[in-house]
Amino acid sequence: MFGRYRNLIVLVGVLFAQILGLAVQVKRTRNSEPTRLIRIWTVGTVSPLEKGLSWIQNSTGNIWSNYIYLRGVRAENRELKRQIEQMRLEQARMTQDADQAHRLQALLGFKEQFISRTVAAQVIGGSGSDLSRVIYIDKGYSDGIKPDMAVLTKDGIVGKVLRVDHRHVAQVLLIDDQTSGVGAILEKSRLQGILRGTSSGGVVLEKVMSDESVPIGERVLTSGGDGIFPKGLSVGTVTKVTSGSDLFLNVRVHPDADLSRIEEVLVVTQVDEKQVEADQMTPIRAVDILAQRLPTVPPKPEPTAPGQTPTGTKPASQNNPPNAVAPNSVTSAKIPVAAPPAAANTTNAAVTPNLKPTTPEHSGTAQPGSNTATTGIQRSGVAPSATSTSQGTVAKPKPNMPAASGSTTPGAPATGQSAAKPSSAGTTTNSGAAKNSAPKPTNVKSSSKPPSQDAPH
């Protein structure tokens, strides 16, 4: 009897054992789920191979792209410089809005979150299954990675750390997995919902009532309600809105980050929360507001030094914030780039005073005249401190400003642009970077965060 049906009996036994094991796993809550040895063994076996192949691939790619294939680099460089000039102008405008928001937050006693430390990691592998959208990164618990940490790229959020069973490997659950959930908010309409993945790999925003109007193309940000992703990180764009079930809309979202081609990510290892302090604000005098609103004569362009960009000639009302000429604002007029001595005593007052630094690298690598593009007009009566700021003083990174070059500024969540392409070098700490790289201005509070020990930006 047993001999005749031996195969079938064994099959049933093996299946039964696996189903039993499956049932036990499903019944357990995630918090009580122990790390399965089979996972450790498998990941421990596979990840070194993946790391090795990643290293070979990156090395080969770097040699090719950095030393051999340099076609079009000059044109690209010119284009990037042009973009930088445009972005500086845009940055000046946005800073004014950010400052206003900052003042209002302080008035209301809001606390704000900001990313203070990140760890750059390389993606070394995935699950290999359409139904399990996870990736593996080359940083583990020895790098400070813990479960439920947010993972993002310069484009937007990617997912969260799910498991950290190894010293140098961690598993990240992508936002397009159907078991993931992210608190999200629509940028303009401020409607909140839950971002979920679908079985087909799409991303939808759930729990938006069907009587609401959601325009296609509206941006989706993190709401901070999930306790994992800081508020304001870029998520994606609404691409399709249909009526779903149970009085809710089915809002399809296209993620900003290309989830199928992620190579490097930033893991947010520390998010700080602090009260917006009133003394961070720049006082505005009525006369300053009046000066800004009054029509002004467009100034003559600043005589440019060789290699220097001509000074902008926009009206003062466009480029000068209300507090541009306030004494305090002058002393706090921190410029993200170092100005040349020639321009030092002329242009800074016209620069938006609260232009916050992006990265310390900027201050160190700025070319003469590089900040003149952001200046609107030359203003007289600039306090001497303006000169000092133009000579490379870097202010403390302000929460609302995006960063560049792999650093994350405290305000990175607000724009989602904080994480430029990271190197695999390691940790970035913005506040510490600012602290280390620049003299501390008198009217700018030093950050409460210690400088990063790994790779401050």
Binding site: R6, N7, V10, L11, V14, L15, Q18, I19, G21, L22, A23, Q25, V26, R36, I38, R39, W41, T42, V43, T45, V46, L49, E50, L53, Q57, V123, G125, G126, S127, G128, S129, D130, L131, S132, V134, I135, Y136, L162, R163, Q171, L173, D177, Q178, T179, T198, S199, S200, S260, R261
Partner: protein, 172 residues
């Protein structure tokens, strides 16, 4: 006497060396995790499944087939965030079925392998879908065109994989 659809000469039982038994499934799991990161279209393939079918049909032992399939599936499960056993159960069934069928019919020619792979790919997906929906409550959508297309794609790749496996299998 068991009735088979092949002659006695065609029912050859093969075995694989220990390194091949360990390294080939491991390589299949590794490549399955590695390649889709760089070639996203590769997710339609299931290399561990093809190796399971290849081993099962060559060995022609249902017990060996189900254990091989189960182990490969569990290792594949370990790389996902889902409960361990989803791929394990599906590949156990496939390993058992492929080896049982391998006894009955000739699976040495490319045509038979092509059809066999499509059949077991669909079986694998049905078992996986059923378990995921019923036991794990995952939201999954079933699409026959997609499954058939994936089955054909896997069958094409399978012919190449089986030919490679033929080179390392040893006659008992």
């Amino acid at each position: 006497m068991a009735i088979t659809y092949t002659s006695g000469e065609q029912v050859e039982v093969y075995r694989f060396s220990i390194p091949a038994t360990i390294l080939i499934p491991l390589a299949a799991v590794f490549l399955q995790a590695w390649l889709p990161r760089h070639f996203p279209f590769f997710t339609i393939f299931d290399l561990p499944l093809l190796v399971t079918i290849g081993f099962a049909t060559a060995r022609r032992s249902p017990l060996a087939g189900l254990f091989t399939g189960g182990l490969i599936g569990i290792v594949q499960d370990a790389l996902t965030q889902q409960p361990i056993g989803l791929f394990g159960i599906a590949k156990t069934v496939v390993g058992f079925g492929a080896s049982s069928l391998g006894i009955k019919i000739d699976v040495e020619n490319a045509g038979a392998r092509f059809l066999l792979t499509i059949l077991f790919y669909v079986v694998h997906e049905i078992v996986y879908f059923f378990i995921a929906r019923v036991l794990v409550s995952l939201q999954m959508a079933w699409s026959w065109p997609h499954e058939i297309f994936s089955g054909v794609a896997n069958a094409v790749l399978g012919i190449v994989i089986y030919a490679l496996l033929d080179r390392v299998k040893q006659r008992t």
